[in-house]
Symmetry: C2
Amino acid sequence: MPNTTRDRLIGATADLFRRQGYTGTGVKQIVEAAGAPFGSMYHFFPEGKEALGAETITWSGAMYGQLIDLFYVAGSDPVRATRNFFEAAADTVRDTDYADACPIATVALEVASTSEPLRRATAEVFQSWLAAIDTRLVQAGLTKTRARRLSVSLFALLEGAFILARATRDHTHVRTAGRAAADLVQAALDQRSAQRSALRAGRGRK
Amino acid sequence: MPNTTRDRLIGATADLFRRQGYTGTGVKQIVEAAGAPFGSMYHFFPEGKEALGAETITWSGAMYGQLIDLFYVAGSDPVRATRNFFEAAADTVRDTDYADACPIATVALEVASTSEPLRRATAEVFQSWLAAIDTRLVQAGLTKTRARRLSVSLFALLEGAFILARATRDHTHVRTAGRAAADLVQAALDQRSAQRSALRAGRGRK
DNA sequence: GGAGGAATAGAGCGATCGCTCTAATCGGAG
DNA sequence: CTCCGATTAGAGCGATCGCTCTATTCCTCC
């Protein structure tokens, strides 16, 4: 049963959070954007704005997480996937007039020191993204620890580039970060290969 | 003439912006934190909160920018400098209970789509940071375009890692990003050396 | 020691904040 | 058709928002 009032509230909130953050978005503005009656807001979210915020963070995180699976297809080249992901992100940032980058980064920074429930929600989303990338990188032959190291760096490159791109209104920064990200993935894969050769050589010598 | 009311207003605002962002910080909260009379706020900043915000962004940016010069000393090893910078940042984040990371990233994301004056202020700060790193990297032998590519990536790794660290309350993410950053710097320097050798070889052959 | 601008001090404005409350309306089950 | 919970609808609460305004005090220069 899609497109319910509840869903529209979350969707509108997600939209507004991206552009204005958490504190910058008012409840009345949300219900207006959602085309929902004001009473419905507190009917579906009796615990108020914070609860709606948490739900929105989780929902937005799941949406954006699907993009990871879309680009990092099992068995495909993770270097190419990384390049494509960053290129697509740069395009989106440019095409949306520097409004749509990460759906929850703004809120994450805002609430990190002000609301434990919301902070936790953002943390869980980020962890789930890292886990998703980890899976693909391990499938590509990396150890778990190397995969985690890499996924953290890819995340940071993307999020950091988003900040720079939105502030300077220059999407090429995301492409630049994407190039570095692809380099890091390539280096990790090379290291894996080198290790394997060394292992083979070692076994052969024994 | 330091420690004037005006200075204390900016200092208090910088402090609050880090933790609560722009919209999350009230004018009355600022004057209280600064121990300043309310009237003084509008005496020194007749154009209101936005003007104070812009000034604070510029000031905070200059403060943080000094750290770049502190770590990237002319003539020293940029790989080591990068490692040290990220390690120090991770320590700070940990020691301040995940409050003090980038002084203006939160505000930058908040205002990117809502206030042109403030957005511009954050953009100028970021550009100045990139320029500062560029200078050092060019001194280390990189071309301008390669230096810029690298500085953007270093910026992104740091800022992105800050987001992740604050959200998950795990400072090791900043260290992980620092390792990747150092790797990128090393790779850029290696590439420079390789290019030089190739150039020498080419000239010798001619 | 006045004069006069800089700075301090805070009451209070209209608007908006998140939220509570009551009442009306809707729609499916018996 | 009746009933009854789910949902819609919105008035209005106290608090806070950014800000204006009028006094008053402070300090400097003549």
